[in-house]
Symmetry: none
Subunit: 219 residues, 4 copies
DNA sequence: TATGAATGAGCTTTCATTCAT
DNA sequence: TATGAATGAAAGCTCATTCAT
């Protein structure tokens, strides 16, 4: 009793099962170490069916990357309210980000660890998504700088570097939160806000850290 | 005549040639995609010699990780003067870090991208090094907090999270600096100091960022 | 409306569609390289239907060979008038042969190239047809020999060899005519008559070619 | 006792063994049906060694074609004395041809049946050889026509068609001789000379066969 | 110290064929 | 009559690893 062995399912269902199995396997083993045999077995189908529907290992991996990237971006997007001030938007976005990565560790591993590790054509796929997020963060920093009436604006490359730093910190904390028992998405987000926002605000108000300025800055 | 094809070199020299070839190949192709054939050819020796000296692909990769980790830690260490204030130490450490990663892109790829991607036993190796750096940063933050007479100290887990964020930001900026023409190690370090130090200082003085700012901001 | 996608056709029609597709695919790709998928798609039906009607790839190929062999023999037969002298019959048969192979290049490829290449049980099928044609030619040669009052008759094995030579020459010329633009069936037939008939006649009158001509020629 | 299992042979020797096994297997089974496993086993080595030395199935097959084509052309060439009259040269060439095909049935099968059946890039390889032989025969026919003081010369395309016919007849007779017990190379060559030379001579002297001319011609 | 010769095991991919409707 | 869903079996190819010298 129960669906001991589900058979003759419609194609769309089978494809989802295969993609789920593929994300899990790729995320845990890596692209090269994952075998199509293992993916097929985990999906509960034969290997030829995987090829019939998903064409090749490379295409399958690419599909996984695209699906997970889309899901992650959608999760972050839906967590953010565009009208709010920049720090509130960032806060909401980070919470959505850490929540999603915590709930989809294999998908996150595919995007963050595997796709970027295995060169073309995969790195390109995931870079597109990362750039989208970097651009979002860049926009927030720029908006905040304008709100702060900072004039002249920060140079583009500075903003770009800051966004890279923020996104990198987020990626690192996602791994930390997933690997450290008891760290919630909210806590990770708070840590990152604490870490980053004061620095960003100082910059926006034209008070960069400087090697020799340290004593004066403390006054 | 002439050392067109050098032969019968002492073991230590041969091992270095092999390790160099291995780091380059692993860094560019990845652990699984790199073949022992390619490494042996790049090293200019026969495959059995690689096995004679380095025993197996797994051990060879582990040796690469250890060598590159040691080199990176040494580079950062040698850039820091223990007596200085915490932010100066951090500034010096970051400069050394970005300089080293820029000068050793393959070694950095092995540590950052490949080793962490391919599970045990490699992740353990590189985690040991990462933890060492995190501990160094943690120490700096703690020292700074004590200098700031902040009491009670930040909880350990907070400090740990902050260190993870800082290291992640550094890793991300290392990639950004390596991939963006014209970004120097010094600039990457300055970006990260600007990004992080103010936030860290605020925390040390017990002034965390908090979401309540939103109400005021809306007025 | 309109028979855009014809469905539920009578069996005989469907079978012809499948055989047409199979002959085309086998002729162009070869027996092994042709896939049942491709044949089914070209025929506009699903694969199970092909199996329902034609049972297996092997049987399908055999059916193709038989259909094409029958068609070729019928074409040659219908071109010949039994009452005429032997050379006129041969002339008519060759014209019919070259006309048919030019009009059915895929069918001819199946018979000449593919069937004989892929061993049992296919070679047997096509050999039966080839033997039928050889027998026809053998009969003509024998009849001509009797007309010429040549006695004793040529030994059977000699006649058989001559027929083999003639058929081989015809096969070669069929390829030549198909591949050389502007060569008509009539021209190919004339070339072969010119090439062969004088030799055959000489043999029938007991005047074989002999190597001894060489001494005289050197004078 | 005896070389039960020969091991560690030099590369050149192993390569010959592999090529021999490949020619045999390809000749008997066909390109697609022959498996690398079978070839390796027949050669007495493991599959990876075949790949190490011969690179791929396609390259292996191409190598076989080239080796056999070179051998066949060399055999025919070495059988012919350039100074002799055309019919003597043809006679010698045919004897060499039938002798070689009888002694190398698998090589002949590779050239005649398999290579031409399996499309590009194989057909091109063997066509180059066939064209070389056709050119040789074409040269002989042309030379004979000039010896016969025939003026004006036969049109090029006629000569070309005749050569195709002669070569096709030879190919067919090679198969016949190989498959019919007791037919010697000399006998096959004689059959073909008898079949072809009278027709060729008539043509060279301007006496083609013509459909209506048959009665007059017999006078 | 150093290498040419060799392989077991495993991978991705394809294909003829069948099941259930 | 007709097909979407599914697979067992095998093929080409690669790779880490070892043997014999």
């Amino acid at each position: 009793m129960g669906a001991v062995k589900s058979k003759r399912l419609p194609r769309a269902v089978r494809e989802q099962q295969m993609m789920d199995a593929a994300v899990q396997t790729f995320g845990q083993r890596g692209y090269r170490a994952a075998s199509m045999d293992e993916i097929a077995e985990l999906a509960g189908v034969s290997k030829p069916l995987v090829y019939l529907y998903l064409n090749s290992k490379e295409e399958l991996f690419t599909s996984c990357i695209q699906r997970e990237a889309k899901a992650l971006v959608a999760a972050v997007r839906s967590g953010v309210e565009p009208g709010l001030p920049a720090d509130r938007q960032l806060w909401a976005g980070l919470r959505a980000f850490f929540t999603h990565t915590a709930e989809n560790p294999d998908g996150w591993a595919v995007l963050h660890r595997q796709a970027r590790t295995h060169g073309e054509p995969f790195a390109t796929e995931v870079m597109a998504m990362r750039d989208e997020i970097v651009a979002f963060v860049t926009g927030l920093i720029g908006a905040a700088a304008r709100e702060a009436h900072h004039d002249p604006a920060l140079p583009d490359r500075d903003v770009s570097g800051l966004a890279q730093a923020l996104v990198g910190a987020a990626e690192s904390l996602a791994g930390w939160a997933n690997d450290t028992p008891g760290v919630s998405a909210k806590e990770a987000a708070a840590t990152l806000m604490n870490f980053s926002w004061a620095g960003l605000e100082n910059l926006m108000h034209g008070r960069p850290w400087a090697p020799r300025a340290q004593v004066a800055a403390r006054v």
